[in-house]
C-alpha cells in the first residue's frame, strides 16, 4: 500500500510547488476585480476633490493649484444658510427619530411576543420599503390637504419619519445581542425597573443608540428628493442648493462645496467606526 503513495523526489517537489500556488479559497481574477471595484468606487470622488483646487474656471481641465473656490464658498451666504438649514433639520429630526426608535426597540425586544408585533415592525420599517419619491408626494398631498406649512417644521416632521427605521435598526441589533441576564442581575441586586434601565440597559445600549443617531443624521443630511418636494421657499438645504448649482453650470465651486461635505462625512464615519470598534472591545 505505502509504495503506491511514495513519490520520487522530483514529483514531491512539483507537488510542493503546486501546494504553494494553491491557496484554499483564492479565485484567480477575483483579486483584480476587487482592486477594480475600489478604483471605480473612489476614483470619481478623488477626481472631484482634485478639481476643487483647480485654478481655472473648468471642472475638468487642470490649470494650476488654487484655493480660490474655497474662498468663494466661504464668502457665499446662500451656502451658509443652506448648510445651517441642513444642520437644524438633521439635528432635530435625527434626535427625535432616535428617541422614538430607542423606546420602540425596547418594546419590540423586551416586550416578548405580543399581538400585533409584526404589524408594528412593518410600520416602523415602512419608510424603508416605500420609494422615497412616493413618500415625498404623499407628504406633499397631506401637508397641503391639512394646510400645514411650518417651513422648516414640515421638513423636520418628514425627516423624523424616514429617519426612524435608520435609527431603529442599529439599536434593535444591539438590543438583540444584549443578553437579558444583565437586567436580571440588576434586579437580583435590588435595582427596580427604572434603575435597571438607567444603570444597566441604557449604558449597554449606548453604542447602538449612538450608531442609530449617526445613521439617522447622515440619512437626513443626505436626503434630496423629499426635502425638494416638501420644502418651501426658505427651506433650501445643502443638497438642494448644490442641485440648483449643477443645473446652472458646472464650476469648481461645486467641487469645493462637495469636498467640504465629503470631509465632514469622512470625519463622521471614521468617528462612528472608532466608537463601534471600542464598544466591540468591551461588549
Amino acid at each position: 500500500m505505502s509504495e503506491t503513495v511514495r513519490m520520487s523526489p522530483a514529483q514531491g517537489a512539483a507537488a510542493n510547488r503546486g501546494a504553494r500556488r494553491f491557496a484554499v479559497g483564492r479565485i484567480p481574477g477575483f483579486g483584480a476585480a476587487t482592486w477594480a471595484f475600489f478604483l471605480f468606487l473612489y476614483a470619481p470622488i478623488a477626481l472631484l476633490v482634485v478639481f476643487s483646487f483647480n485654478g481655472s474656471n473648468s471642472a475638468t481641465i487642470w490649470s494650476h493649484f488654487s484655493l480660490d473656490w474655497y474662498v468663494k464658498v466661504a464668502a457665499n451666504s446662500d451656502i451658509q444658510r443652506a448648510a445651517l438649514n441642513s444642520l437644524i433639520v438633521a439635528g432635530v429630526a435625527s434626535t427625535l427619530a432616535t428617541a422614538l426608535a430607542t423606546f420602540a426597540a425596547l418594546a419590540m425586544v423586551r416586550g416578548g411576543p405580543f399581538r400585533g408585533q409584526q404589524l408594528a415592525l412593518s410600520t416602523l420599517l415602512l419608510p424603508l420599503i416605500v420609494p422615497e419619491i412616493v413618500i415625498a408626494i404623499a407628504m406633499v398631498i397631506f401637508f397641503t390637504g391639512i394646510g400645514l406649512s411650518l417651513g422648516l417644521g414640515n421638513l423636520i416632521i418628514a425627516h423624523t419619519v424616514f429617519c426612524i427605521p435608520f435609527a431603529y435598526l442599529p439599536i434593535r441589533a444591539r438590543l438583540d445581542s444584549l443578553s437579558p441576564v444583565y437586567e436580571e442581575a440588576a434586579q437580583d441586586l435590588y435595582a427596580d425597573n427604572w434603575r435597571t434601565f438607567w444603570h444597566v440597559t441604557f449604558p449597554l445600549l449606548a453604542p447602538g443608540i449612538l450608531a442609530g443617531l449617526m445613521l439617522a443624521f447622515i440619512t437626513s443630511v443626505d436626503d434630496f428628493i423629499i426635502s425638494l418636494m416638501v420644502g418651501s421657499a426658505g427651506t433650501t438645504t445643502l443638497p438642494i442648493y448644490i442641485y440648483s448649482l449643477i443645473r446652472i453650470g458646472i464650476t469648481p465651486q461645486i467641487n469645493a462645496i462637495s469636498t467640504l461635505v465629503l470631509l465632514i462625512s469622512f470625519i463622521f464615519v471614521s468617528l462612528a467606526w472608532l466608537i463601534a470598534r471600542r464598544s466591540e472591545a468591551s461588549p
Binding site: L47, G112, I133
Partner: protein, 297 residues
Amino acid sequence: MTGPARLSRSGIALALGPALVVVGLFLVVPLLLVPIASFMEANPWGGVRPTFSVEAYVQVLFEEDFTGELIFNDAYPRIVLRSLALAALTTALCLLAGFPVAYVIALQPKSRQGILLLLVTVPFWTNLLIRTYSWIMILRDEGLINNGLEAAGVIEEPLRLLYTNGAIAIGLVYTFLPFMVLPIYAAIERIDRGLIEAAHDLYANRRAMLRHVVLPLARPGIAAGAILVFVPALGSFIAPALLGGGKHLMIGNLIQAQFGASRNWPFGSAMSLILLAAVLAVLLWQAQRRRSGAWQP
C-alpha cells in the same frame, strides 16, 4: 424569555406608541391619501379639485387628439419599461461587480475584514448628489474620458456619453453597489471554510467549488442584495435627472414633474401607485420564495 426583563402590556404601549403614532400620522395617512388624490381632477394651479375623475388613469395610456378622440400614447408605458429595464440592468451589474468583492472580503482574516467593509460603505455615507455629480465630470463632452481619448488621438469628436441610458446605469450602479456587496458578504462570511476545503478534498476544482458550495450558500445574500438594489433603483430620481438629461426619464422624474412644473397631482399620484405596485410585487414575490424555502441554504 420571561422574567423581569419583560415589559408589561402598558409598558409596551407606552414605549412603542409614540413611534407608531408618528409613522402612522405622517406616513400611513398620507399614503392613504395618494389613491384618493389619483381619482380627482387636477387643479391647474397645483393640488386637486374634489371631483371624482378617472382622467389620471386614462392619461397613462391615452392622449386626446384635436378632435377629442382618445388615441394610444406609448410615452408613459415606455418610461415605466425603461425604469424596469434600467433597474434590472443595475441589479445585474451590481451582482457581477459585487460578488467577487464580497467573496474576497469574506475570506480575508477577520482583522482586515472590518477596514475593507468600511471602505465599501464610506461612499454610501457620503452625499448621493455629490457622488452622482462626480460622474458628470467624467462623462461629459469635455469630461475626463473624452479629453483623455482626444489627447491620445483615438477620437476627434467627443463621444456622447452623458445624457444616455448607459450614463444613468453607471450612476445607479455607483449609487447602489454597497447594498449588493454587504448582504452577499454576510452570507459568504457565514460559510464554514471547512466546506470549501471539503469540496476541494472531494475533487472539486475552484470553479466547481464556487458553483456547488459558495453560490448555493450565498443565495440568500444574493436575493437580499438584489432586492436592496432593484427597489430603490426603480424609483430613483437623482441619477436620471443629472445623468439622463431631460430626455431619458425614469418614473421618479415623471412623478416629481407632476408635482412641480406640470402641476398634475392626480396623474402623479396614479404613477406613484404604479411604482408602489411594482415594488410591492417584487417584495411579495421574494417573500413568497423565501417562505417556500427556495432561497434557504
